[in-house]
Symmetry: C2
Subunit: 410 residues, 2 copies
């Protein structure tokens, strides 16, 4: 993409009300724009990153047998009344609205109830299970205070998967499979080295413990104790001697860290399936409960965590897998037409889907600052000086390493 | 995809409350499921079709210079108050909700105001224009009555593009370019032969006429007069002798047809840009108004129109460009292992992304009925009988034409 065609512009300063590093850098780079407190627009570069993250998650969900669907945002009150979660004292961050007819409807807070009710049209035999269904769907949370930039917002795109299993054993097997898929996802988006499966407190559906995935960050809101070698952590909430022992860890090796929750996997038992009438008949015709699980990743939060943890003092440092473009061609304006010709040549050679080409008529210093702020993995500097020695400058944004290369080495 | 793995099932009958052909067939095929009146879930096969339509539209919008973004669903009341459209008597189908703090927020009805306000952060010089921004974003309309299946709903995915031009001439040029792109889109999704650019009444922003794109359908809610040869129509609303003459048409050649509006393009003048403070300075530093246009296509409505107009008495007939899969392998269960082996072989050969493979243990009649209902363009029947003559049966779903072919001819 030609940078001259991109409508967004970089800014030297972020708006004064943005105190989090992720929103500050993303707004300065023109990746996102605040629409209102807790709601951000994705601008062209930001949307490319969001879609790349989405595709990585999609591939891993498909690999473990997930079937993708898209549920509605407007939700029927009656399915929520069955589970008791329509009540604002039970779920305290609902957005609700009213139809012209006066009837109340919910605005998707989550989808356990609607998805379970939907499946009653399709599932009734043990042969229909196990079943894994997921979607990328916008969730709405009526938070009292939005904070941490795009980390805790009122509206966000979420990958939510739900598993439907015939018994606890089948459920557990998938739960572990999904945990492995999550590890792959965090590795692929560049957070593998600082993200840990973390033992956490069980919710209302399980007497046992559950799992979170936590990324170490000094700006995190959670506190975890990490065994880096074993790639396992325990959330402060349940950091007891019993649990340390139970998971084969040693207190002396656990290091306290602040962290950001980037995903969770959660046993739901048969609470929702039972109250919503989703049952199966086993091979003897006897009615059986269905064991459910839910598996969430907030895409904006993951994007924000990448920025929060991998950026440096100059700006964003995108991992190649999610970068809007792999290369940033920085053409240093020159009277010599060869400079522009060379820049155009390598732009075409590398392909417009792989390159942000800074073809703007700006000073070199501004262009370098923009390239560092925007954070493409490789900067290719095309200048009169470099060309006089028959070379191009290839800079690795992350390491700062600079190589002089010939055009045909690209 | 293996049909045995698909959680949806076909149904013989649609729910009694679905009277429209599009929803009836789509629900029977397991493409969609009604969540509540006017809100439908997209199930795996339906979501594939929706995404294929989305990609076709995206390609055509990018081809005319569109930049894709994603605005929020929650909308700040203050930007709507500036244009006067927050008022429920002005826009009578708003969904609104309240924050915990008590402040009212809008739930995206459309995006003229928010997108114009957002651009004030980036546009201020004539050099920043022209600019074309679009998104695929869910719109919410508080309709008194949802009707016509997925045609008139309370929640739907829409492609909305907005153009920002320096003057009327620049605007008109893009307006025509977008009209041509729309024609390409309707051709690519298989509706080209029955879709017409249609002269329609101007809205409140123009004294002139505007354009709609109407697809001929006996179930349509609109009435248009069509000149098939000139590929032009006039909406009944403005079907006057003056307009017939103005557009070089002849009354004797105009044929009255019922039709479905599948797209519209619309001049907005400078109403929104002026009230929201989006202005440019020209090359003399003088402040100028910005001329806007909006360009909409509802994706669900387009999908519904394809089903409504191209299906037959047996079921859906997907054009290849938007079909969930190009091929449907119908394996007729047999004691001979060669049948399954052959089916598996061609499934692998054609690629799982191109094939729905009916590997279920069902009677041939049920399988044929399902294949016709689901509507993939080509059915490949693998049976003992066909194989005994060394052949496969290839059936064209649309024409019904059957060819006996050898496996290596596929």
């Amino acid at each position: 993409m030609r940078q001259s065609q991109l409508f967004t512009k970089t800014r030297r300063e972020a708006p004064a009300d943005e105190v989090s590093k992720n929103a500050e850098l993303l707004i300065r780079g023109g990746y996102i724009q605040k629409e209102m407190a807790g709601a951000y627009d994705y601008l062209p570069l930001g949307l490319i990153v969001l879609r790349k993250i989405e595709n990585i998650i999609r591939e891993e969900m498909n690999a473990i047998g997930g079937q993708e669907i898209l549920m509605t945002t407007l939700q029927d009150k009656t399915v929520w009344e069955k589970s008791g979660r329509w009540d604002d004292t039970v779920v305290d961050n609902w957005f609700k609205t009213k139809m012209v007819t006066g009837a109340e409807v919910g605005i998707a807070n989550t989808h356990e109830e609607p998805i379970t009710a939907m499946l009653t049209h399709f599932v009734n035999s043990y042969k229909d299970l196990p079943l894994y269904v997921y979607q990328f769907q916008t969730k709405f949370r009526n938070e009292l205070r939005a904070k941490s930039g795009i980390m805790r917002v009122r509206e966000f795109l979420m990958k939510d998967m739900y598993s439907f299993s015939r018994d606890e054993k089948e459920f557990k097997e998938f739960y572990e499979k999904c945990a492995e898929a999550y590890i792959k996802i965090f590795e692929r988006v560049g957070l593998g080295h600082i993200t840990f499966r973390t033992i956490a407190a069980g919710g209302s559906f399980t007497t046992g413990l559950t799992d979170e995935f936590q990324t170490i960050s000094e700006y995190g809101e959670d506190v975890i104790y990490v065994d880096e070698k074993k790639k396992l952590a325990i959330n402060k909430e349940v950091y007891t001697d019993d649990n340390i022992e139970k998971f084969g860890l040693e207190k002396s090796k656990m290091v306290e860290k602040k962290s950001i929750e980037v995903g969770n996997i959660f046993p739901l038992g048969s609470k929702y399936s039972d109250v919503l009438g989703l049952k199966i008949r086993d091979n003897n015709g006897v009615e059986q409960s269905i064991i459910m699980g839910s598996y969430g990743i907030g895409l904006g939060r993951l994007l924000g965590t990448i920025v929060e943890t991998l950026s440096d003092e100059k700006g964003i440092v995108w991992p190649e897998s999610v970068a809007p473009f792999k290369y940033h061609i920085v053409e240093i304006p020159s009277e010599k037409t060869e400079v522009k010709e060379m820049a155009e040549k390598i732009y075409k050679k590398l392909g417009e889907e792989n390159v942000l080409y800074d073809d703007r008529d700006l000073r070199a210093g501004e262009k370098f600052a923009d390239a560092d702020l925007l954070g493409m993995p490789y900067q290719i500097v095309v200048s009169e000086k470099n060309m006089s020695s028959g070379k191009l400058e290839l800079k690795n944004r992350k390491t700062g390493e600079v190589k002089m290369i010939k055009e045909d080495e690209l």
